[in-house]
């Protein structure tokens, strides 16, 4: 069933769609932060995934914890793209918007396609709510929604009606309106409510009356749709299963994937995982996820700040664990000095940066990929370290494993650049089979033999120094941030030695360059008219746009960099085979700058810093501009 090609990272190459109108449905739930939007979205996503669809999701919650209800900035949304072809982005315009209050309409109407479906809770369109959302007149009445297919339903009162018998307070009953809505939407997608019912039972198993109410509401919504004749022009969506690779699946978001992957990586390196961190959006869930792995032996430490977090991780690495620390841009900035220490002491350390909109505090809840300069060059001194980046949530697990591998194999700190989109988005993920050669263990050999032991002796192939951990008899030695004599590791102020050590640190990167896979073409031919080069979460939209263009026979290839530093040695040769090279990035042209500095090719930059990934349409336009529409 699957098309045979195994995609490097994602492992789930599916047919590409030429007819987004039929192959995908993009639906967005939106409402007040307190409306249970995220839950509704997740349930539908889960149901679709279980059914066999490919999906991509994008939760989009407000920066405020709980903004006053009814405000625009208090709107919480969940976007979901369901397809029977490969789905790599949460999609451009939505086919349907389910809005539980006027503010949600106000905020997200713009993102709905012409003639798209609007499902609204008519009960929520009170005078007060309309004013709060900034409407002067009621859009349900003033004709401003005439470009859409509008389905205004009495969601709140229908929910209340359905629960009247339960004895639930009006307030609690109202809270179930998301379930009513979900029931309706499940019907719209031709899905049964059974799975969600199970889930509700589990979730509320200590509060059976709530479980019952939620299920009642769910069923009521489903029934409502089935029983009431829907206006003409509103049809059910029939999305067949996507031809996914055989296997066992779950859905995963990037933060979870990375946390699990780092644990797996430490394990395959035969090490214990130590995760030191300080909370920050959007990296905190990494800490939360590792904290839950305690019964599996992972140690997490919430430090007093980012500096203490990275230093504790360095201390843990020195003592023989795999030290990992994670944060987002501003927190990574604080870790800079300590990362230099890890470079100088040549200890394994994984630093995860879940990027957000910058500079400074910037846009904490929005995504961006503008910390690339910081990752590659953002330290004092000649201080190189490897940088890798996941393309999508499903790749995060493997990135975690690779991070552990490179850091321990070469005795180096390493940076993983994830981002807010990857961190929060989720997708179906084929569970790893640890007997697969991809997960072959790479156990670390720690030093134990005193004869000839020199703490700063380097393996000529990997440029790793021996890792001798405190507690090991007769290998006592001192390390630190001062420059050290090659070999002995004693402090050295000697100029020639510093030159040598500077070279050794640079050679470590060369050793890594030689050990990473050659750069492959993500999709398309190995030469051609146009190469679209991307990294991180621009992967999805570039991939979709490029594959569609390829189906139309256009000469465009997608080259996706997982290894950002050092760059794969064959990259220059590969890129030379294209007439034009364009780099779409969610920053002001950082990868383009990096590449220009490394190879004498002409790189064109297209940037988008709007707090969201590119739209497929924006990438398609690049292709059209170069190759003609």
């Amino acid at each position: 069933m699957q098309n045979g090609l195994e995609r490097g990272a994602a492992n789930r190459e599916l047919p590409v769609s030429q007819q987004p109108e039929v192959d995908y449905v993009r639906v967005r739930f939106a409402g007040d932060s307190g409306d249970g939007i995220q839950m509704t979205g997740t349930r539908l996503a889960e149901a679709a995934a279980r059914f066999g669809n490919d999906i991509a999701t994008f939760p989009d919650f407000p920066a405020d914890i709980r903004a006053p209800s009814g405000t625009i900035y208090g709107v919480s949304a969940y976007s979901l793209n369901i397809g029977h072809a490969e789905v790599d982005t949460f999609g451009d315009e939505a086919d349907a918007l389910v809005a539980l209050n006027p503010a949600a309409v106000r905020k997200y109407l713009e993102g709905v396609k012409q003639n798209g479906l609007l499902i609204l809770d008519r009960d929520a369109f009170t005078e007060r709510a309309l004013t709060k959302a900034g409407f002067i007149s009621n859009p349900l009445e003033d004709g401003s929604l005439s470009n859409f297919r509008v389905l205004p339903l009495e969601i709140t009162s229908n929910t209340e009606k359905a629960l009247r018998e339960t004895g639930l307070s009006a307030k609690d009953a109202k809270r179930c309106k998301n379930m009513w809505t979900l029931g309706l939407v499940l019907w719209l997608f031709e899905r049964s409510t059974t799975d969600v019912e199970h889930w509700v039972e589990q979730k509320f198993h200590q509060k059976p009356e709530l479980a019952k109410a939620n299920i009642l509401a769910l069923q009521a919504g489903h029934l409502y749709a089935e029983v009431n004749e829907l206006p003409s022009g509103i049809e059910r969506y029939n999305i067949q299963p996507a031809p996914l690779m055989e296997g066992e699946y779950r859905s995963i978001n990037g933060n979870e994937g990375l946390a699990y992957g780092l644990y797996a990586g430490a394990t395959l390196a035969d090490l214990e995982l130590f995760y030191g961190s300080y909370p920050i959006t959007p990296a905190s869930p990494l800490l939360h996820t590792v904290a839950k792995l305690k019964e599996l032996g992972a140690l997490s430490f919430q430090a007093e700040d980012e500096i203490a977090a990275v230093c504790a991780a360095i201390g843990a690495s020195y003592a023989g664990h795999l030290g990992v620390t994670g944060s987002s841009g501003p927190g990574i900035a604080l870790k800079t000095e300590a990362i230099g220490l890890a470079i100088m002491t040549e200890l394994p350390l994984v630093v995860v940066n879940v990027q957000r909109g910058g500079p400074s505090t910037g846009l904490p809840t929005k995504t961006e990929q503008s910390d690339l300069f910081q990752a590659i060059w953002g330290r004092n001194g000649d201080a190189p370290l490897p940088v890798i980046a996941p393309a999508h949530p499903g790749e995060c697990f493997d990135i975690g494993v690779e991070a552990a591998k490179l850091a321990t194999k070469h005795m180096t700190p390493l940076m993983v650049l994830s981002d807010g989109y990857i961190a929060n988005a989720s997708a179906p993920w084929k569970l790893p089979d640890f007997s697969d050669p991809a997960y072959q263990p790479f156990p670390v050999k720690k030093a134990s033999e005193p004869t000839g032991f020199l703490p700063f002796d380097h393996d000529p192939e990997t440029m790793a120094r021996p890792w001798a951990v405190p507690g090991t008899a007769e290998l006592m030695h001192r390390i630190g941030g001062l420059e050290k004599q090659a070999g002995s590791g004693d402090i050295s102020y000697d100029g020639e030695n510093h030159q040598l050590m500077t070279q050794i640190r640079a050679q470590k990167l060369e050793a890594i360059a030689n050990s990473i896979p050659v750069q492959h073409v993500e999709t398309g031919e190995a030469t051609g008219k146009l190469a679209l080069v991307g990294w991180g979460s621009s992967w999805g939209p570039i991939r979709v746009a490029a594959r569609r263009a390829q189906l139309e026979g256009r000469s465009v290839s997608h080259i996706h960099l997982r290894h950002l530093w050092p760059l794969p040695p064959n990259l220059e040769e590969l890129l030379s085979g294209f007439d034009r090279i364009i780099i779409p990035e969610m920053n002001n042209g950082q990868l383009a700058t990096v590449l220009r500095s490394q190879m004498p090719l002409c790189f064109e930059s297209v940037t988008c810093v709007k707090g969201r990934p590119f739209l497929v349409r924006e990438i398609a336009k690049i292709i059209d501009d170069v190759l003609g529409a």
């Binding site: 066999g52 019964e295 390390i479």
Partner: protein, 342 residues
Amino acid sequence: MTDLKPKDFASTLDVRWCPGCGDYAVLKSLQKILSDTGAKLEDTLCVSGIGCSSRLPYYMATYGFHSIHGRAPAVATGAKLANPELDVWVFTGDGDGLSIGGNHLMHALRRNLDMQIVLFNNQIYGLTKGQFSPTSQKGLRTPSSPGGSVDTPLNPVRFAIGAGAKFIARSVDTQAKVLGPVLQAARTFEGTAFVDVLQNCVIFNDGVFDKLKDKKQGPDHTLFVEHGQPLVFGVDRNKGIRIKAGGFSLEVVSLEEGGLSEADLIVHDETNHALAGALAELGGNAGEPTVLGILFREEAPEFGAESRIGLPAKPLSMNEKLTRLSATLRKAETWDVGEDEQ
């Protein structure tokens, strides 16, 4: 266990402190008590920040980590959490530990992870050539305070009390008789032990502690506290500390005047927070002694042990881990995609 002599704890590197620097004496006391207590080289880890005092790990034949300025408590925390078997020492200065590193020190003290933090308090930035530090006396003229420092100095012991430290001691660099037992008690203590060492910097702040260290008059200016002993001091052991009548504060009294005897004095209770706080303050005014010894000690849950609650009873094998991970990954809803389903 082989019997290591103090000198066996010395590394082969030349010690590079200025001749006459108080750091030498502390190093010596340390090596001696490690030898006395039968410490092993390989199980001892010395962590430091940056400063003259932070050079200490280089002079030890144990494992050592000369980290970055102010961050030693954090590095040590990671190392100790990773390997609870290690005997972890942190060496820091008044600049390293209280200026740039004050926050890490505070949180380390609060958490109570089993390690020793020795602060070399010379009331100056030695390594950077003599700027005033957070413990410098007011009015001190230094390159960065040519008109005299206007910062109010911090009292490290009082700071430690504020942070909730569970073992707090003060000592003088060259008084091995006090410093040795204090370091030893710090090592034994299960939790974070904080030792404020008054240390002379011969180059940039020479003599600030001379009064206390004076062979003859010193005892008039220092009070060595011991749990359960009355607070007596003085060259002739004729002075003491008692509770001031009608208030919640201490006062110095003479045992010769007014018919006072030791029975009128406070007996040191090292578990008494308020007392430790009041004792920490002494020494600021004329006639008051600077209090040395263990000012405060209280058993409390150790952070490392508490942090390990919930870990598997014994380390898991690689296979066990992968198996458990597989199970954990499946705690979320999973579904199968089979060939036949397609």
